[in-house]
Amino acid sequence: MLSSMLVSGLITGTFYALMALGLTMIFGVLRIVNFAHGEFYMIGGFAYVLLYHSLGVPIVAALPAAVVAGAALGWVVERLLIRPVYAEMGARQQGRDEYAIIVTFALSILLIAAMTKIVGPWSLQGPRLIDGPPLLIAGIRVSPHQLAALGIALFFLLGTLYLLNYSLWGRQIRAVAQNRSAAAVMGVDVGKVSTIVFATAGGLAALAGALLSNMISPSPDVGAFPAIKSYVIIVLGGLGSPLGALIGGLLLGVIENLGAIYISFSYRDTYGLVLLVVILLVRPNGLFGEMRREV
């Protein structure tokens, strides 16, 4: 049972981390919490499922298309709604945080409502990437589809982390996250970096939504759950820390499962919060938090 729960927790945690990575990147670069992050997940899930079921697009095309849909949404949202958060960097930024909270919150409601109007409130299960008999791993049955989804998630998760650390693209993102005005002085186009980060975050969340659509059928409100997990994870791992998102995600997945079998399943969603409180008592900036929050 213990090994089953560890394995299953790590699998779940990988998908949590995929969501949280984008959220923490957005926070790092823009110092805002994107309250519509779950809806990127939802859009990705629906794009994948609807392209496949309604338009007959093959899976190999539907999955990348879902990622592109999420990234495109992220791009548009950043350009249309997030710009004012940092436009005129020299000018005073009164009401900036309030604006960001309200506008992303309203966006979240808008996207849920729009999707409910367009596709209805129904859930639609996504197709499996590959079919086949399940494999027995540590006492739990894992389908080939789950393994494939996990592989893709890990690839994108580690790939993004690698690029953040070892590519110019990633260094520019980290530069903006560490010191926005210095980055501008150093010739980094901070507006472009912000847009890219939003698009990347949108794409990663959409990927999570598409990969999980077979296990968790997309419905317009499906994004609330992964979003809440992501908020816990990014505080746990340290706001703005990509590595923290990875470790925090895996940790949350495992802790939830252990709590569910050794304490009680009914409180499953609270174990993460308890863990969060404990970690914040010991490390107020989260596991890998290094930046002070701007006042």
Binding site: V103, I112, S266
Partner: protein, 410 residues
């Protein structure tokens, strides 16, 4: 200054768009020419919107249908629809607003127990009758509010039916899964009680699950370790879909050793087979409607009109909603009034042939107060993936006895 202005504009735009999509045609002032009926149901999450839609479709169909025939007492029926989101706060504020602002004289449409429970006090305070559609929890009846009527499913009946089935199956060990809602807690309590009293030979364990959770694997493994011969689930969609799929994927149920019994009434959701594949084959289900029911003429007509209008079979929630509204219209005719007090009085004396049978309300205080005690139900089994309700094996007809002869091992 420039950036502030543009921020405000963007904010206003986003919020306005969200509101515009959400808002349902605002209702005008109260008019003497119409019979204004408040509809409180789930149009947006966190409640089950699937249920709200089925309720709303039925109510709108009947309102239009009756208005074609001249309405009631010479007045057109006007539905004032409001979104309670399936939440307790939503239920209370919507009921309050429908009564005080929209001046409705009766409310219906509630699709979840917590919403009905929240409206009890409001109904009592203003003396406005509430004919709920889908409030299962016992507390709704035991509160004894004279204005609140329940022509839908209720805990004791659902559990009686479930325990009947478990006994007939010769079950030895049962595992029950319930969600953390008023209905879930009420059902779990009744289940333990009835099994203890009526079937002490059955070993019983249960778990309360968070319906917002998306992964039930730890519980599935726990059930696997218990090796029950029946798993009973009350979880409604979408949580119920996830649990069913995980039970199936892990090879727990339905299998030849372990039956799966769905008592939450989600198997006639239009999206059931879009989310359930192999997990549905062999599953036993409890429902408040089945296409093979012997329906009275009005039920046959309702079903026909529903399929014509919405191109889909009505589910049990649509039938429940239809009966709730028909009962209100009948009471208005008998009372020759659309005023709250007169309606309440007439509702109590209901003896009306609805879409699925003869509806009366019990006067005995307790878990059946103001309840249609004989609300019909069916027990049936799916024997194939993508099977239409029509083709499932009916194990109990609306007015017939339970007969498990046709059952097959999964």
């Amino acid at each position: 200054m420039l950036s502030r202005l543009s921020r405000l504009k963007r904010l206003a735009f986003t919020s306005a768009m969200a509101l515009a999509i959400f808002a349902n045609a605002p209702n005008g002032a109260h008019s003497q020419e119409t019979f204004d009926i408040g509809v409180s149901t789930i149009l947006t999450p966190p409640g089950s919107v699937i249920q709200g839609i089925q309720v709303r479709q039925a109510l709108e169909l009947i309102a239009d249908w009756q208005n074609e025939q001249g309405g009631v007492l010479g007045k057109k029926i006007k539905l004032v629809v409001a979104d309670d989101q399936g939440t307790t706060e939503g239920g209370r504020t919507v009921a309050e607003r429908l009564i005080t602002r929209d001046k409705v004289s009766v409310i219906t449409g509630q699709a979840s127990s917590n919403v009905v429970l929240a409206s009890l006090e409001v109904a009592k305070k203003y003396g406005v009758p509430v004919v709920n559609v889908n409030g299962w929890a016992s507390g709704i009846r035991t509160a004894g509010v004279p204005q609140v009527f329940s022509p839908g499913p209720y805990t004791t009946r659902v559990i009686t039916a479930t325990v009947d089935t478990l006994i007939a199956l010769g079950s030895k060990k049962v595992f029950g899964a319930f969600d953390n809602t008023d209905a879930g807690f009420s059902l779990e309590k009744e289940m333990s009680k009835q099994l203890k009293e009526r079937a002490p030979q059955i070993q019983y364990k249960s778990v309360i699950l968070d319906r917002a959770a998306k992964d039930y694997l730890p519980v599935v493994l726990q059930i696997q370790a218990e090796k029950p011969d029946v798993v009973v689930s009350e979880l409604i969609a979408p949580a119920g879909y996830i649990l069913m799929n995980q039970l199936y994927d892990q090879g727990v149920a339905p299998t030849k050793d372990t039956m799966f019994f769905e008592m939450g009434g989600m198997t006639d959701n239009p999206d059931f087979w879009k989310n359930i594949r192999g997990a549905g084959k062999g599953a036993l289900a409890f429902g408040h409607y089945h296409p093979k029911f012997d329906l009275p003429a009005i039920g046959v007509e309702f079903r026909k009109r529903f399929v014509e209008r919405y191109k889909v079979e009505p589910g049990r929630l649509s039938f429940q909603a239809a009966d709730a509204l028909f009962v209100i219209l009948d009471a208005a005719k008998r009372a020759n009034s659309t005023e709250s007090a007169a309606l309440t009085e007439a509702l109590a004396k209901t003896d009306y042939l609805g879409t699925r049978g003869q509806i009366t309300f019990d006067k005995t205080p307790g878990p059946t107060f103001n309840q249609w005690v004989e609300v019909p139900y069916a027990i049936f089994q799916f024997t194939a993936v993508d099977q239409k309700l029509d083709d499932t094996t009916l194990l109990k007809q609306s007015n017939g006895p339970l007969d498990l002869k046709g059952i097959v091992a999964p």
